[in-house]
Symmetry: C2
Subunit: 202 residues, 2 copies
């Protein structure tokens, strides 16, 4: 089965089409890493050796292209979430995963914004697959943590992800982005957890 996202390709997509598709994704990857998520689509097309029309045909919206670029990373994060489900400490597992999400969002410029944008346009049409994948993966972790009384029960996974994305969005394209993001996450996520013991003097 072709690795097509949502359509079970009735036509298996012509060879050159798939070739150009891959070229565009590769070019987008490098250009976005260089210039951020607001990079010029034409520059991506140029860098891929492809006309702008081709790019727009394969990816009718910028969001669609971002989804394709970040798909592998999102899948990795979902896999990590699955692994962490067997962690002995549900609360720490959740926080660890959220930090990983934040780290990825900071490292891959624009991922954070991409994840957030997914929430809008409620329609399940397209463009929000990254968002839903992450939400589903994280929801299991949160449910387990909540069951163990390790987190504030009123926090939803959407809120938590939005918080993480916001921090990533705010610190990306800063000189010391990763450091700042880490500190901010430390501050913010600490408020999410429930510390039944009195807080250590640290």
């Amino acid at each position: 089965m072709p690795k097509d996202a949502t359509a079970p390709a009735p036509r298996p997509m012509r060879a050159d089409a798939r070739r150009n598709y891959n070229r565009v994704v590769a070019a987008a990857e490098t250009v976005i890493a260089e210039h951020g998520a607001e990079a010029s689509l034409e520059e991506i097309a140029r860098h891929a050796g492809v006309g702008s029309a081709t790019l727009h045909r394969h990816f009718p919206t910028r969001q669609a292209l971002l989804e394709a670029v970040f798909k592998s990373r999102v899948e990795a994060l979902c896999a990590k979430a699955h692994d962490l489900l067997s962690d002995p400490d549900p609360g720490t597992a959740l926080v660890t995963w959220l930090r990983a999400v934040g780290a990825h969002a900071v490292a891959n410029r624009g991922l954070g914004a991409s994840l957030m944008r997914g929430a809008r346009h409620g329609g399940p049409t397209l463009g929000n697959t990254c968002h839903t994948m992450i939400v589903n993966a994280g929801d299991e972790l949160l449910a387990r943590a909540r069951q163990a009384n390790a987190v504030r029960p009123e926090a939803s996974i959407v809120q938590l992800l939005k918080l993480v994305s916001a921090i990533a969005l705010a610190t990306e394209e800063e000189p010391d982005g990763p450091t700042q993001a880490d500190q901010l996450l430390d501050l913010a996520l600490d408020g999410v957890r429930l510390h039944r013991t009195s807080r250590p003097h640290k």
Copy 2:
């Protein structure tokens, strides 16, 4: 050549110039409230009944325009910070103020982004007056709270403001933005405070 952003005009600025200046600021206010901080400058000029050149002459950069638009609100926030300095509970005062900052940032689309952008371009040249004003005002509140052991000592005011701005940025242009922002702030700011007593079972 006096680069006056706020300078006390050696030449008192011609009457029509000031008139157009005010018109542009007023137009920007409404257009930004409608379309966000990324609104088209030409549309602002159009809405003000003014050529685009006039807009660019008065405000050489978008940031300069945003500064002018948000100046009054920022001043109000600084005044509020000053008032809260006499609040009996330093920790609560700080959190109250940060929530107020967040509320303003959400209400006035683009203010959050504007506040953050100020941090960059380290130069004290221009465009970061809003940022420095807010930072200075908040720093006093934070210092007092820290002295009272009411907050985690490693949190800096820049970090806290960045956190608040990030949340505002993430929730603005959402249908239920203010509500979400409030919940997220609740989550995030709780991690900032130091609860010397063991946390209530709540």
